[in-house]
Symmetry: C2
Subunit: 263 residues, 2 copies
DNA sequence: AGATGTGAATAGTTTCACAGCA
DNA sequence: TGCTGTGAAACTATTCACATCT
């Protein structure tokens, strides 16, 4: 996770030297599964809730599988796919087993089948509408990003609080004023809000999104957002990513740590 | 974690509908601590290795603390700081306890002291040099981002493989050709490489960085990077973040899951 | 009183290792 | 024989609960 900037060039990205939240409220999604005591009847052995970590990796598998499909590969073993995705093969198998059994012992998985299952699981067949608030430096970059439309999403609206920016056309869309946010959300049935404003405006925009019923937010502003239960916020914070790398970089230098490894 | 694009507008960000890796190789940094059998002598009870999760949160605390410091706040309780950072207070206390005891029972923590401790721990006193490869849509945005310099880092070089881009001046720097990467790394003592190229070029750039001794990489390209042990790669992938949100969005809709919660 | 620091309990995740099917 | 699917073990991380100190 990492992040960028807001509507006004500079001051945008994780401005302060501080860090950001990797995934703020995402905790909600935890593999719920109550396991209430006093019950144990016929419990649907279905695909209940997936572990958060698995969900994140499914997206990775999907990307790798898409590449394989393009190359004409029709079958992969867990070993191959895991290697390409950078994970342990047992981990991969367990992840996939949560979707049900779609592999063939002694052979492997059919690429096309897996792609379908994962897309279905992630809900990528619906093509959710995304609103991007803040078309500054980063906002522009995000708006121009082609990957959005590729599968599952499309940017339906661009908004900015700066009157000078309103009316500008970016990637086929006209920037509208932030005041129109509620109307835009309802008109276009926005499911996901992407915040790319300066830090000081982020909480405000977030509150508006939530007030309008948006429960999925991707935050690029260097600020910790407070949201009610039921709302998922994921944060992308460049400063934090760099700081984490800095920490490890430092550890590599001073031979204070390795000492433990030796004896 | 999320990501963006490359040097060429479009096709940049997590292009394919697939996802990306949250933190590829970062696994290295795991709280190492071997616990070799057959030993147990006098072991320095020092601030050995911090848990990965703690490192990530320290960056968050730092940001919150910076804001508090600006506001003139000099003392905070774990409860207050935890609320501002969006974490559990016990979790916060445990995180901080890893740095040593810098709080006062019955009172709380001194903001200035904590800031110092955290900056020291994350190695933010050294101001590492960062090279940004790929100045496309996203690269531009990142280069223009003010937060870099704020503390701990500075973009020392911009590179791109497109001759048309070489020579362009962005944020006070002149874009140099990718071929100069080795020279640039040595000249400027680059510690961190930020990859913002199209997916197809990412592994190549990564390999060059590694060959030149860079062991910390932040990858914005929608590709899984393979690196040798000892190299930390963190990935920022927009498509994956959106897909994770999509998954939860889907779960909210169909009342299949909640059933479990009820009984 | 009030808040830190931390052992113990709990929860979540990864990895192993192998039974079982193709 | 080969690879999936999965119980069990190992690890990591979070939360509780309270002794401890100011």
């Amino acid at each position: 996770m990492t992040d960028q900037h807001p509507s006004t060039p500079d001051e945008a990205l994780p401005g302060e030297p501080s860090g950001g939240v990797r995934r703020a409220r995402a905790a909600l999604g935890r593999a719920v599964r109550s396991t209430l005591p006093g019950r144990g009847e016929a419990r649907r052995a279905e695909e209940r809730t997936l572990p958060e970590a698995t969900v994140a990796r499914l997206a990775v598998y999907l990307r790798v599988l898409s590449v394989l499909a393009e190359q004409g590969v029709t079958t992969v073993s867990s070993e191959e796919l895991a290697a390409a995705a950078g994970v342990n093969s047992a981990n991969l198998r367990k992840d996939l087993s949560h979707l049900g059994s779609y592999g063939t012992r002694g052979v492997g998985y059919e690429v096309a089948v897996l792609v379908d299952r994962i897309e279905g699981t992630l809900g990528l067949t619906r093509r959710l509408a995304v609103a991007l608030i803040g078309v500054g430096n980063l906002g522009h970059a995000l708006a121009g990003y082609g990957g959005f439309a590729t599968r599952g999403f499309h940017i339906a609206a661009l908004l900015d609080a700066d009157p000078a920016r309103v009316g500008e056309r970016i990637a086929g869309l006209t920037v509208r004023h932030s005041d129109e946010l509620p109307a835009v959300i309802r008109e276009l049935d926005i499911a996901i809000g992407v915040i790319a404003t300066p830090a000081h405006a982020a909480q405000d925009v977030c509150d508006q999104l939530v007030a309008c019923g948006v429960t999925s937010i991707l935050n690029f502003a260097p600020a910790v957002l407070a949201v009610p239960d039921g709302v998922d916020v994921r944060k992308v914070d460049l400063a934090i990513e760099l700081q984490i790398l800095s920490f490890h970089e430092q550890r590599k230098l001073r031979p204070g740590g390795p000492l433990e490894d030796v004896g």
